[in-house]
């Protein structure tokens, strides 16, 4: 293997020192004194320099792996945020108990999200955004508005424009109804309290994951970006009644009809289905009906398809939500349609040929 630089298996002093220097430069804050010592060490002999070049190349090459994107998106350890109020409590009589609890949490980060809502510092910080814990509440976004809602379990909902959700949390189940539009969910993991998203006649059950759901004019679409979800027909309010039709993993896209029947399961194209998170509407072979439904969520003046035959026209396009008019203006050049402006609506009509 190696050609004379370092004998196989031998991990000499120079190599060890070289690795230590690498960590000082890249992960520490080297002082002038450190630098002076480094220069002296580096130039003391060729072996040191060689060893350091090798260690540096290793550090550098790590950044070239195809797996970098996966590595950096791995779940991470997070320490609980401790507020000044919590610090005061820490010193008090219940400090000892709190200290034990904190140690358990650090050792088993998995359980942290379950206990988090009861931590005093959190409700102090987020009080404005948090819901009472067993109550129904709705959120809706207006035309052209993107809205983020943080629930008291840490779950976040990103609402696309003109979308609405209703939230009912109880001790045993977290239920969110997507009444209209699109939403992306970052679900806080709770081992014993699943989260159900109802959309049309479909029901999506998760424990902790991120995924998007869209209620369209003709179908319900679910895109899973991490974790795993199961989809069933919506049969009411009981978790027990969730009879899984299909379980889908991260990277999949599912289309169900309005009766809750699964139409397809395919590879997700996130930047098409979730582009709206970035304020972008992106379509790859979507029907004109879907595109129009989305545009109407961002546009004050109503857009209508005059000729039903046009509804199934396949559209490939990408535009910013605030540039829907520009997209409409370009439509007649690519498709056999014309645009007609009326006082209270814009109509897409079949082009006379």
């Amino acid at each position: 293997m190696t050609q004379g630089h370092t004998p196989p298996g031998k991990d000499d002093e120079a190599s060890e020192a070289a690795r230590a220097w690498i960590t000082i430069f890249y992960s520490g804050e080297p002082s002038d004194d450190d630098r002076a010592r480094f220069v002296k060490w580096l130039n003391a002999n060729p072996e040191n320099k060689e060893a350091f070049a090798r260690a540096n190349a290793l550090w550098s090459n790590l950044g070239l792996s195809n797996l970098v994107a996966e590595w950096v998106n791995e779940p991470v350890t997070t320490r609980p945020v401790v507020s000044s109020r919590f610090n005061e409590m820490w010193r008090g009589p219940i400090g000892a108990i709190a200290a034990v609890a904190a140690l358990v949490l650090l050792a088993t980060p998995f359980f942290w999200p379950m206990i988090q809502p009861h931590q005093p510092e959190r409700s102090m910080a987020d009080v404005g955004k948090i819901l009472p814990s067993v109550e129904s509440q709705s959120y809706m976004s207006g035309i052209g508005e993107l809205k983020t809602v943080t629930l008291n379990d840490g779950t976040r909902i990103f609402l696309a424009a003109s979308s609405a959700v209703e939230i009912v949390y109880s001790a045993s189940v977290r239920r969110i109804k997507l009444l209209r539009g699109s939403a992306f969910f970052e679900v806080a993991h709770e081992k014993d309290r699943p989260l159900l998203v109802d959309a049309g006649a479909s029901e999506v059950m998760v424990l902790g994951t991120t995924f998007g759901v869209r209620v369209g004019p003709n179908d319900i679409q679910v895109t899973v970006s991490s974790g795993r979800v199961s989809i069933a027909k919506d049969r009411g309010d009981k978790v027990d009644s969730h009879q899984t039709i299909v379980t889908i993993d991260a990277g999949k896209h599912v289309v169900a009809d309005l009766q809750g029947e699964i139409l397809s399961v395919s590879e997700a194209d996130f930047e098409v289905t979730l582009a709206w998170l970035q304020g972008q509407l992106t379509y790859d072979g979507a029907t004109l009906a879907d595109v129009v439904a989305d545009i109407n969520r961002y546009r004050a003046k109503r857009l209508e398809i005059a000729d039903p035959a046009l509804s199934q026209l396949k559209v490939t396009a990408s535009f910013r939500v605030d540039q829907a008019d520009r997209f409409l203006a370009s439509l007649p050049s690519a498709y056999p349609v014309s645009i007609r402006e009326l006082p209270n609506q814009t109509r897409i009509e079949a082009q006379p040929r």
């Binding site: 430069f25 890249y26 290793l58 195809n66 797996l67 590595w71």
Partner: protein
């Protein structure tokens, strides 16, 4: 990217009176179309990753992502990139690290001390990826053998560009422990690289020329 090519073929495009494309432009257009597709399929995901790594900026994640795509655009050919999505992410993450002053300074200082100014170890291009692939594979294998904690420390340090102090703040681990774990992890990674059949990494890096200019 045959998978993406297939995806786009599936789309029914309603095209009328489209002029025929001349053969000479076809390759160029193909590349452009390819990068465009890459952009559409990955921009939001890339921005999310960059935000996770480097916060909201400045530079903003969107700007970093944009720069990474410009870099893809500027490449003469993308055909020999084995995994364009992964390449895009490594380029963008590298740009993100370069935006951290401490890291940029450390890189410049080390390059200078090794008397290789200008041979930016931080410069990422497809040929370097190709030349280093044996070592990179070995590193990937070794990464999988690290303990969960070591792995996380390597990732936070190498890709988030965090200092011991920053890692300690986020994870609750002690700085001394983090330092120890990182060195142990590097030892394991180094052993894997030197144990592989290829030549030592340093040799590979030294032999390379700066590509792209």
């Amino acid at each position: 990217m045959t998978e993406q090519a297939k995806d786009s073929d599936r789309v029914v495009r309603v095209d009328f009176n489209k002029p025929a494309v001349s053969a000479q432009n076809a390759a160029e257009r193909e590349q452009e179309r390819f990068v465009e597709m890459l952009y559409r399929n990955n921009f939001a995901d890339l921005c999310r990753t960059l935000r996770r790594l480097y916060g909201s900026g400045p530079p903003e994640p969107e700007d970093l992502a944009q720069q990474a795509f410009e870099k893809m655009h500027s490449l003469k050919s993308v055909e020999h990139i084995e995994n364009p999505r992964a390449f895009l992410f490594t380029v963008a993450i590298n740009l993100g690290l370069q935006s951290i002053r401490r890291i940029k300074r450390a890189r410049a200082y080390i390059a200078e001390q090794l008397h290789r100014p200008g041979i930016g170890l931080e410069e990422i291009d497809p040929s370097r990826l190709y030349q280093g692939r044996e070592q990179i594979r070995a590193l990937e294998g070794a990464m999988a053998t690290l303990s969960q904690k070591q792995r996380e420390i390597v990732i936070r340090s190498r890709f988030h560009g965090h200092t011991y102090a920053e890692i300690a703040r986020t994870t609750g681990w002690s700085e001394a422990d983090i330092s120890r774990q990182l060195k142990a992890a590097l030892k394991i990674l180094m052993a894997a690289v030197q144990g592989d059949q290829g030549q030592p990494v340093a040799e590979n890096i030294r032999g390379e020329k700066e590509v792209g200019e």
